[in-house]
């Protein structure tokens, strides 16, 4: 595979075999490539549609893509948990409602309860609120998991019940009131100009990520060499390194290309925080919720691939009976998977309510469909045992791109719903096709 002749063959051979050779050498999943292709198609499609129909392509602009990244965060965070739920052959239909309930709960804690004791604007308020939200989500998830794993009620039913129950409970918590505004520091977790890290920090993060990519490639190669496992050809390693770093740097350039809106700059000048004669083009940089999502993605990938828990989750999905016979406590692992899913819904509630700067009892409605679609589009198989975290996050980007694009070109909410429904069914259909072909 590594001789130059076969590398030349890459360009000379028939197109199909060339692609296959390329994929094998770089070990890129063909499904991942398909996902990226679909994403590119959606992005270019919406942009060109805007150009043709309105004379202005609004999609491929720093502003829109930056907003897209922020809007993806909440769904993306939950999608990483949904991967593990679906891998164990279950489903969680309640995540949207759990998000709504946790958001309401946190709003009450930080707006009605904590200021009484700590005083308004106390620096610990946001920390306590976030912890309360995540813990509440985990508790609800663990309860669902208990009903599913120990009482044997199908996950579909338990979480369908949860979908109704927690939405109703969110209403009851504040009798339908909208609680607003949330704690000032808490609100930064939702993004916006103040909830972004700025240009310098974004470059620092980007460069650290590039170094991380290069180290992991180098480390992987060293490990393979040490145990005399087959190596990727050098050009393939180089390709992966260059593409990885280019994507990271491209992302940094993109988020830095979206400056603060004029109104906010003016307000900051008025408040004396900005020198009116200095540089008034201030980059957003990475939004905090996006960093949260990426952090969750890395942590969940680690959990899924490097720990016993992750190994058990996949083994249970591959063959529950074998897992049980191997001595794995399948019920306990199942309970933990649902608790984790709940905790992530709690974290998403932080992002979603911070972004809105308020909590309403309708927050997160229909999110379960986006989250499940994201996981399935990202290669998680409903038959269980198969799925990746990065795929689910990419799937979340696909779903959010569809949503954003439809808003930009002015589709009705009704049409948007129909499209999401169709995409969900289509994604599952493609998964069945893919698996049939793989067998």
């Amino acid at each position: 595979m590594s001789e130059p002749s076969s590398t030349k063959g890459l360009f000379k051979d028939k197109r199909e075999s060339g692609i296959r050779h390329f994929l094998r050498a770089t070990e890129i999943d063909s499904r991942l490539l398909g996902m990226i292709g679909a994403l590119a198609l959606i992005w270019i499609g919406f942009h060109v549609y805007g150009l043709v129909a309105k004379g202005f392509g609004a999609f491929l602009t720093p502003r829109n893509l930056w907003n897209l990244s922020v809007q993806t965060s909440s769904i993306g965070v939950m999608a990483t948990g949904m991967v593990l739920v679906i891998v164990t052959r279950h489903i969680d239909l309640s995540v949207g409602s759990v998000l709504g309930f946790c958001a309401m709960f946190m709003a009450i804690v930080q707006v009605w309860v904590l200021p009484e004791f700590l005083g308004l604007g106390h620096p610990m308020i946001w920390v306590i609120a976030v912890l309360c939200g995540i813990a509440m989500g985990a508790l609800i998830g663990a309860f669902h998991g208990y009903l599913i794993a120990y009482l044997g009620i199908p996950a579909f039913i338990v979480t369908l019940g949860g979908l109704l129950i927690w939405r109703g409970a969110a209403y009851l918590l504040a009798r339908g009131e909208t609680i607003s505004p949330v704690d000032v520091t808490f609100a930064k977790l939702g993004g916006g100009p103040y909830g972004s890290v700025g240009s310098t920090a974004s470059w620092a993060i980007g460069i650290a990520a590039c170094i991380g990519v290069l180290i992991s490639l180098w480390n992987g190669r060293r490990q393979r060499k040490r145990f005399q496992f087959p190596l990727r050809p050098l050009w393939a390693e180089g390709f992966l390194g260059v593409v990885g770093c280019a994507m990271i740097i491209g992302f940094v350039v993109l988020v830095n290309a979206y400056p603060w809106p004029k109104g906010i700059v003016r307000r900051e000048i008025a408040a004396g925080n900005l020198d009116p004669d200095g540089n008034l083009i201030i980059s957003h940089g990475f939004a905090i919720p996006v960093l949260i999502m990426l952090g969750v993605g890395i942590a969940m990938t680690f959990l899924a691939t490097r720990t016993r828990f992750g190994r058990y989750v996949f083994a249970i999905g591959g063959n529950p009976e074998a897992a049980e016979l191997a001595g794995i406590n399948v019920r306990w692992v199942t309970l933990k998977v649902f608790a984790l899913m709940g905790a992530l819904a709690g974290l998403s509630a932080v992002i979603a309510s911070a972004r809105l700067n308020s909590a309403t009892n309708a927050l997160g409605t229909f999110d379960e469909l986006y989250v499940i679609a994201a996981a399935v589009i990202g290669g998680t198989s409903l038959a269980g045992g198969l799925g990746t975290i990065y795929g689910a996050i990419l799937g979340a980007v696909v779903m959010q791109s569809l949503q954003t694009g439809m808003v930009l070109i002015g589709f009705d909410a009704a049409v948007q719903q129909m499209v999401v429904g169709i995409v969900l069914v289509l994604a599952v259909f493609l998964d069945t096709l893919y698996r049939r072909r793989a067998d």
Partner: protein, 267 residues
């Protein structure tokens, strides 16, 4: 076989199953079955498909909860409520269904439930693969597909994975439920050799088959089941293959065998 005979007298059996029963929806899959196994002994468990062999040993390996009866290990009453309990007693099982997780690789299957971890608490995949290469090398020297999900392996290779998993952890009691069902003649011979080697190490082995030819030459004793009941026990040196066939097919116990509850009543 002299040493084994002495052991019968002097030491408590390694495993003693006493009056085990289990039924599924009113059907008695195993009915009042008693059986024992000594260190370094191979007991062949024979009977037609559906006789209850797999079900009986699944009680021992903790996969099924018995309705009645008791299990003794080293003469002491054992509490086996799940597969983890059984493994804690040193009972390893190769299931008839193999019970492998198809979507993960061979090393992950070998260590499933007992993963090696680094000092950071993460999976030590390198160490597991190295060990997997060693043990698989013993069973199936040609095996090289360590990185692929088990789904992509041949039947024989999957079977080697299941066997390797059972011998990896220094079992004292090994249950092999039709272990050579998917193997070719060469691999079958390898497994036979392995059994003799494990026996020499003092491991007690239940070797299950519906085919007498798989078992007769390897076993010290045979136990025959029919319709969930034990027909009888016999030492292989005391009976002929035809007599054992008579036990399997008719439930007829030869003179030198010890009859069980399922033996055909003499006229």
């Amino acid at each position: 076989m002299n040493t084994a005979q002495v052991k019968y007298i002097t030491s408590a059996p390694l495993v003693e199953l006493k009056n085990l029963s289990i039924s599924f929806g009113g059907i008695k899959a195993v009915d009042d079955a008693s059986l024992e196994l000594h260190p370094g002994e191979v007991v062949g468990l024979l009977g037609h498909n559906g006789a209850g062999k797999s079900t009986l040993v699944k009680i021992l390996s903790g996969a099924y909860a018995r309705d009645n009866g008791e299990i003794f290990i080293d003469g002491e009453k054992a509490t086996i409520n799940n597969p983890r309990d059984a493994k804690a007693y040193g009972i390893e099982t190769i299931y008839q269904t193999l019970a492998v997780a198809d979507n993960v690789d061979a090393a992950a299957n070998l260590y499933l439930g007992r993963e090696l971890q680094t000092s950071w608490g993460t999976l030590d995949d390198v160490a597991m693969e190295a060990e997997a290469r060693k043990v698989m090398g013993r069973l199936n020297p040609n095996f090289q597909r360590f990185k692929e999900p088990v789904r992509k392996l041949s039947g024989g290779q999957r079977q080697s994975v299941a066997i390797a998993r059972a011998i990896l952890f220094n079992a004292r009691i090994l249950v092999m439920d039709e272990p050579t069902a998917a193997l070719g003649p060469q691999e079958t011979a390898q497994v036979a050799e392995l059994i003799l080697q494990l026996k020499k190490d003092g491991i007690g082995i239940f070797l299950i088959s519906h085919d007498i030819h798989d078992v007769f030459d390897l076993a010290d004793r045979v136990t025959v089941m029919k319709n969930g009941e034990i027909v009888g026990h016999a030492r292989t040196e005391d009976v002929t293959k035809d007599e054992v066939l008579g036990m399997i097919i008719l439930g007829k116990c030869p003179e030198k065998a010890v009859p069980g509850p399922g033996a055909m009543k003499a006229e």
